[in-house]
Amino acid sequence: MFEKVDLGELLVTRTNKKIYRNKNLLIKVFDHEKVGKSTVLFEALNQSYVEKVGLNIPKMIAIFPYGEDWAIASEFIEGETLQEKMEKDPSNYKKYLELLVKLQLEVLSKRTMELPKLKDKLNAKISFLGKEESLVNLEATTRYDLHMRLESMPDHNKLCHGDFNPSNIVCTKDNKYYILDWAHACRGNASADASSTYLNFILNHNQKYADEYLKLFCKKADIAIQYVQRWICVVSATLLNSVHTEEQRELLLRNINVVESM
């Protein structure tokens, strides 16, 4: 009953979705072979939860079927990403990292009871590393240690973006910052979110930014660095299936094979 709508210009093609722009709309079309209807609706639902907390984020406009696929249309935010700014003006990287931390802490200051729990997500991802479908397999002992470590982490209800990095921050012409891509949003511990941002820098071979970011985050959030560090090994494990290169996988594996102090 739905005519195929005009999706506009194709911006990027990912393994499981295509992203288009049609004037003021950004349209994500999910490949039905990889992403089921329920997953798309769940993502949309979560995004609508996030909209409620009152942050500067693109509004979701519509969810609709597109042939056999499902699509989500949101506002298109015109502007430059923080990553682009940093690439253009590398000497000022500390200033941009400070901005990144400031925005992240604003997100983390929000509480939600509606989004999925971070720990559940991470536990599921660790368990998945024992399954055949997983790109990387970890042995049972390592998974046991990871589950155990995760179990001991404090459970919070802070809004976590899940993939908070400079490429997901857009600065508009009138100098307003928007935070994009809430597909991984959940509720949980701020240090876990910070360690995923940290790892994003590491995986992009930017140790300097990673270290500076971590210092800044801990200072501004008044969190001991050890707490963020304790998450790195767990979060590294959960990223094993989302990175693309063997080298990145090696980097993550190095973080995982550690023991707790006794």
């Binding site: 155990m148 050890q226 707790e260």
Partner: protein, 872 residues
């Protein structure tokens, strides 16, 4: 070897748990002798198997040193056995018949024992032996990396236990450890003994079951400039190389005073340690610690292996890799716990700097665990004290290798031998000591009813008989050698020449004196301060109070202010439940002066009591003080001073003495010592009060008997205290301006009837007061006073009639109404007065603990008399 079915699912674990529970139930009935036999055999067998178990552990985990693991196994069996072999853990473990208590030990049930990879066999031996000694069942949750050796250790202990008579299945184990099974056993067991990283420990604490867990360590060792360098260096090597540094208490950093730094470095080098140079430092740094966690590949490896993994070449026999670093924060990898023979070395500017560094290291990584110091313990006690006060660690080791020192009983003999070291709340633990059998027992205390010690305290000297004043006062000179006397009295007595009778004796004795005669009835704090100020300038070595209650009370307060000008009356007057347990500690009296009391009325008894009441004139608050420090040192009861007491005063003070006696008899604090006094006082009072009232000075014998009776009653209530006739009387008198004796007198009969109930709403609380006995005690008084009757109730009724007769003889108003208090005024104040009376210090000793409403009824009864029908 004992085999156990596979446990890899929650259902299989449930099955196992059932079996272990059943076995434990049987084991819980075993005697100490049976338990000790099992403990002995299990320890013996574990000890025997220490070498194969050590070999298995190293082979399975790939960590540590076989020879050192042998020592750990040996220790877990032998030292632990030795420590607890004679410890009673079954049934009555402590008893004291005199104090009336027993302590009975019972098992907890089934203990979940979480075993780490670093000490898989020794910890298993330790925990299973602890469970055997305490009659607990045990389910072992091994780490997957060390499950075979852990389970083997448990099998050995179980087999030996069964051979010595233990029930089968007393110890069980998870064969395929997983997160699900670990959390299941932690939820199902009765107690969790968790050893391992913070993950395991936190999981244990959050399971909802009682958990004994331990936390991570990051032991710093300070090398003070006074230390024995050879001893210090080798102790660290001894500890750090032990099992390749896997003991959680072992040193992670040494902080060396700059004055000895080079010498210490040379000694480490001489003993085969390796100092990392230039890039080597960074290579090892990044290999050992990854994002703040220890690289699993280096745990329990030798210095050589770790160096090789880091791309650094060192001699194969290298003992420890040492990194000289400056930063103590978590940003420095060397500042972390390293679980390997890798050590950080810091240079300290001075001792204070060393303390700061050690504190920071503990703070960031080893809160609550262990710290160590090397110094000259003889000359540097002060430094040691500073260190001990500063470190937030539960073990503070002096001149000993930390690994072997922390586990106890090797380098010191007061730390319990244990492989589970509590880290207190700092480490998120419930225990701060080395865990032993104590934590695995439920100890029941049987507390048998015992009675408090009581006392009978009186002034050091009590002189009596008409005309005794002169002789008694002579003692001040002859016995006490007093030189300056301060006399406290009221205007009337001063003006009618009573003080002359004292001063003339003092003059004859050549004793300096001065008189303060401004005490008014209901003495005020201002008056007491005025008197005390005069005392401070006159500097008496003796205070004489002459008069009725007011001058004696005022003199007691002046005495306190003179001796202790700093006192706070509010604190002093704070109510207490038990005078022995009161919070306020009354200042010691008598360093400047003693107190002599000479009563001129027969009633208050203040000359022999430890009580005084003072009113703060600025806000009207009354401070009732009570403490035996206030007891006068000497009382002189000379009835010649009382011959001309006016009729009204004879009545009020005489009735007061009667109420004192009855209340002392009824009090929950009453004893045969006070009862005897009170009976005799009543006997004298009933016979003499009507006569003294009628005949006055014409009958000196009656005056004498009255004087003695009032003082004897004072002795009784000075030790047994009073009851609610006084509570009610105090407030009635204050609200409606009724003389004290009359006020309490009007409350007496309603209160006696109230107290005589055999079914009181609530009884007073005191161990020796075991059931309501007031009626029978009143009946005994009745008999003593010649009132007969067929039973206690009849005797009591006749006693009440006798009281009424005496009251009539002295023309006492029988009700408050009759006294002249207007009904309207009375009712207006009733509720407020009642609550205040309830809160009076005298309420606590009343044999019947009154409800506020009951006290209100008593007031109403006292107001309306016989016509009033009390509400049921």
């Amino acid at each position: 070897m004992i085999e156990q079915q596979k446990v890899s699912t929650p259902e299989e674990l449930d099955e196992l748990l059932k079996k272990v529970r059943q076995a434990q139930k049987i084991f819980a009935t075993f005697s100490q002798e049976q338990v000790d036999k099992i403990f002995y055999h299990a320890a013996l067998k574990a000890n025997e198997m220490r070498i194969p178990l050590a070999q298995e552990a190293v082979k399975e985990t790939g960590m540590g040193v076989i020879e050192d693991k042998v020592i750990k196994n040996h220790y877990a069996a032998e030292f632990v056995y030795n420590k607890y072999k004679d410890t009673p853990t079954v049934g009555v473990i402590e008893e004291n018949k005199d104090l009336g208590y027993q302590r009975i030990a019972e098992p907890l049930g089934v203990v979940a024992a979480i075993i780490p990879t670093t000490n898989p066999t020794s910890t298993a031996i330790f925990k299973t032996l602890m469970c055997l000694k305490t009659r607990n069942g045990c389910i072992i949750s091994p780490h997957p990396r060390a499950k075979n050796s852990t389970i083997h250790a448990a099998q050995i202990v179980l087999q030996a236990a069964i051979e010595a008579g233990a029930p089968e299945n007393l110890i069980g184990w998870i064969t395929d450890p997983s997160m699900v099974l670990s959390s299941t056993i932690m939820k199902e067991a009765d107690c969790i003994l968790a050893t391992g990283g913070p993950g395991m420990v936190t999981a244990a604490y959050s399971s909802g079951k009682p958990a004994i867990g331990v936390g991570p360590g990051n032991t710093p060792a300070i090398f003070d400039k006074t230390c024995d360098i050879k001893l210090a260096v080798y102790s660290v090597i001894q500890s750090k190389t032990f099992d390749n540094g896997m003991i959680c208490a072992s040193e992670q950093s040494v902080i060396v005073d700059k004055e000895i730094y080079n010498e210490v470095k040379q000694e480490f080098l001489y003993r085969g340690c390796y100092f990392l140079k230039g890039e080597e430092l960074d290579k090892v740094r990044k290999t050992v610690i990854i994002n703040g966690s220890v690289n699993a590949k280096i745990v329990g490896q030798s210095a050589y292996t770790i160096a090789k993994l880091s791309g650094v070449e060192v001699p194969e026999e290298t003992k420890i890799l040492i990194g000289e670093v400056k930063d103590c924060s978590p940003f420095e990898e060397f500042a972390h716990e390293k679980l390997s023979p890798v050590l950080a070395m810091y240079k300290a500017e001075d001792f204070e700097d060393a303390l700061n560094k050690a504190d920071e290291l503990v703070h960031h990584g080893g809160y609550g665990h262990t710290s160590a110091i090397y110094l000259n313990e003889v000359t540097e006690q002060e430094k040691l004290n500073k260190f001990a006060l500063r470190m937030k660690t539960c073990r503070i080791l002096v001149n000993s290798p930390a690994a072997q020192g922390g586990i106890g009983d090797i380098y010191n003999f007061m730390l319990a031998p244990s492989l589970t070291l509590g880290c207190g709340s700092w480490g998120g633990n419930s225990v701060s000591e080395n865990v032993g059998v104590k934590q695995l027992l439920n100890v029941k205390t049987v507390a048998v009813r015992r009675e408090n010690m009581l006392w009978f305290r009186v002034p050091e000297k009590l002189f009596f008989k008409p005309g005794c004043l002169k002789d008694a006062l002579t003692e001040l000179k002859e016995v006490y050698n007093k030189k300056r006397v301060f006399i406290v009295t009221d205007k009337f007595l001063y003006e009618s020449g009573f003080t002359k009778k004292v001063t003339s004796v003092l003059d004859a004795l050549n004793i300096e004196h001065t008189v303060y005669s401004d005490v008014a009835p209901d003495p005020t704090l201002a008056c007491a301060k005025e008197g005390a100020n005069l005392m401070l300038s006159f500097k008496p070595d003796s205070i004489i109070a002459i008069g009725g209650g007011s001058p004696m009370d005022a003199a007691k307060i002046m005495w306190v202010l003179y001796e202790h000008p700093e006192v706070n009356f509010k604190d002093m007057a704070l109510d207490f439940m038990d005078i022995r347990k009161r919070i306020y500690r009354f200042p010691k009296m008598g360093s400047k002066a003693n107190l002599v009391c000479i009563p001129t009325t027969a009633g208050t008894g203040s000359e022999v009591t430890p009580f005084a009441i003072i009113t703060d004139e600025t806000n009207g608050l009354k401070y009732p003080l009570a403490d035996y420090e206030l007891l006068p040192n000497m009382a002189i009861v000379d009835s010649d001073l009382m011959l001309n007491i006016p009729k009204g005063l004879t009545k009020a003070s005489g009735i007061d003495a009667i109420v004192h006696s009855f209340e002392a008899i009824a009090s929950i604090m009453a004893s045969p010592f006070t009862d005897g006094m009170a009976y005799e006082a009543l006997h004298l009072l009933f016979e003499n009060l009507p006569i003294a009232y009628k005949e006055g000075a014409a009958n000196p014998k009656a005056r004498e008997n009255m004087a003695h009776a009032a003082t004897i009653a004072g002795l009784a209530f000075a030790n047994a205290f009073l009851g609610i006739a006084h509570s009610l009387g105090h407030k009635l008198g204050a609200y409606h301006h009724i003389p004290h004796g009359i006020a309490v007198g009007m409350m007496l009969i309603p209160v006696m009837k109230f107290n005589a109930s055999e079914q009181p709403t609530k009884m007073g609380t005191f161990s020796q007061y075991d059931h309501p006995i007031c009626l029978s005690k009143y009946a005994r008084v009745a008999e003593y006073l010649g009132c007969t009757g067929k039973d206690d109730q009849a005797k009591f009724n006749n006693l009440l009639k006798k009281i009424v007769q005496v009251q009539e003889a002295v023309e006492m108003p029988m009700t408050i109404q009759e006294y002249g208090v207007k009904e309207e005024d009375f009712l207006k104040t009733l509720d407020e007065m009642t609550v205040e009376a309830f809160n009076d210090q005298c309420t606590g000793c009343n044999p019947r603990y009154p409800l506020i409403e009951e006290m209100k009824q008593l007031y109403l009864e006292a107001y309306y008399g016989k016509n009033y029908k009390a509400k049921k």
